[in-house]
Amino acid sequence: MTTTDRGRALPRQEGPALPRYLREPAERRTPLAYPGYRSTALRAPLRTPVDLPHRLTEVTGPLLGEDLVTPADADLTLRMGGEAQGQRIIVFGRVLDSDGRPVPDALVEVWQANAAGRYRHVVDNWPAPLDPHFDGLGRVMTDSLGRYEFTTVKPGAYPWGNHHNAWRPAHIHFSLFGRAFPQRLVTQMYFPGDPLFAQDPIFTSIPAAARDRAIGTFDLDRTQPDWALAFRWDIVLRGAEQTPFETEDDGDVA
């Protein structure tokens, strides 16, 4: 792996053990294509993906963060010199891997519509008001225990053109890197009991057994009296097995 090694065939130079990131069975993963979500028809690849073994490029990943994120990025309700309109909420939880291990010091990027269901984006022009004090962008780092927390307003539902009278349930977009390339996740958090779930193909594209995992839980303990409601959402990224290589030197690392 050093410069001088290049060009020579060197077995197992990746170290004594490489993590191998586990994959959820297909029946519990969101499929790439879903007939009810029309935009998938021309965008989702049709061919079966080729298995890619996890080598150095795959077991590593960008560890972005601290220098990019300020404390103000965790409060979406205070922007451009004033307070956002809407129901103030705290969204918090833990980022874990599937072994229950916390994912510390990890960047969490979020974006959302305002309380009226309008995004501050050139493509979003449905007749709901923009809020001069809401830009819909948040960034936080998980702490040493994988915990994250931000303050925002509850996003509104919004219409879209997928089918007649289609509405997206209220949701917050999340983007996470975890610590390695296979853990990369872009997803959406929903709110409990939303009556719009059944007609939303982006929600129903999630296999039924996994839909609960996309919905935050109201947490009375974490509400702040006279201030904010609270929703908890734990996010689970793919876990890894340390797979020992069969080298004599390093035979005891497993």
């Binding site: 229950g100 977009h173 997803t187 097995e241």
Partner: protein, 221 residues
């Protein structure tokens, strides 16, 4: 958060493994064991990704002005051959010496100064086209006693993709390395060509075809 709280993720954990205090589930260590906690399902990045995912230095996997830096560019098209102007490309790679700054990388020197290894580009401007400034990666072991050809791992996100899709960029001016690469070797010639970027004046070009006859090879990672 209250200590007795059990989240739906933990409640829904797969039964059958031993339970150790303080952790939801423990596995036996075999790869075919069920996952202990159910994964959070992916969702589309949607049309408004620019709000949350734009960084001023996003396209720069290496600092501007770095000697030897190259632009990786290409178009993203859909099953009709139309440009996809609302996608996002992310790249991840080692540096020219095969180094990367990460706790799971083998011990040794870090990457060259100013090398982040990660790039993120929208396809909004010019419409349908991505651009990442980076250094050409070095070769790293393939786990079978050989070396992989220089490659960049790529994620594509877009409205209409309910999960990211993953591909690789290889380099057209590395014919010998490409011929030895275990991943490329496993593919039919026509498929292999969908992964190999063409040298240009300032770097390399590789178009990404999401769907259709000339569909890019995508990987399950």
């Amino acid at each position: 958060m209250s200590s007795d709280y059990v989240s739906p993720q933990v409640r829904g954990a797969v039964e059958g493994n031993d339970r150790r205090p303080g952790t939801p589930r423990r596995g036996s260590g075999f790869l075919d064991e069920p996952l202990r906690l159910g994964l959070t399902p992916s969702a589309t990045v949607g049309p408004y990704l620019a709000i949350g995912l734009t960084w001023p230095d996003g396209p720069f996997a290496v600092a501007e002005g770095t000697a030897g830096a190259v632009w990786l560019r290409g178009r993203v098209t859909d099953g009709n051959g139309d440009l996809v102007p609302d996608a996002m490309i992310e790249t991840w790679q080692v540096d020219p010496d095969g180094h990367v700054d990460h706790p799971d990388a083998p011990p040794g020197p870090g990457p060259v100064p100013g090398f982040r290894g990660f790039g993120r580009s929208s396809t909004a401007e010019p419409a349908g086209e991505y651009g990442i400034l980076t250094l050409k990666p070095g070769r790293v072991p393939d786990g079978q006693g050989g070396l992989q050809a220089p490659h960049v791992d790529v994620s594509v996100f877009a409205r209409g993709l309910l999960d990211r899709v993953v591909t690789r960029i290889y380099f057209g001016d590395e014919p010998e390395a490409n011929a030895e690469d275990v991943v490329l070797r496993s593919l039919p010639e026509a498929d292999r060509q969908t992964l190999i970027a063409t040298p240009t004046q300032d770097g390399y070009r590789l178009d990404i075809v999401l769907q259709g006859d000339r569909e890019t090879v995508f990987f399950a990672v």
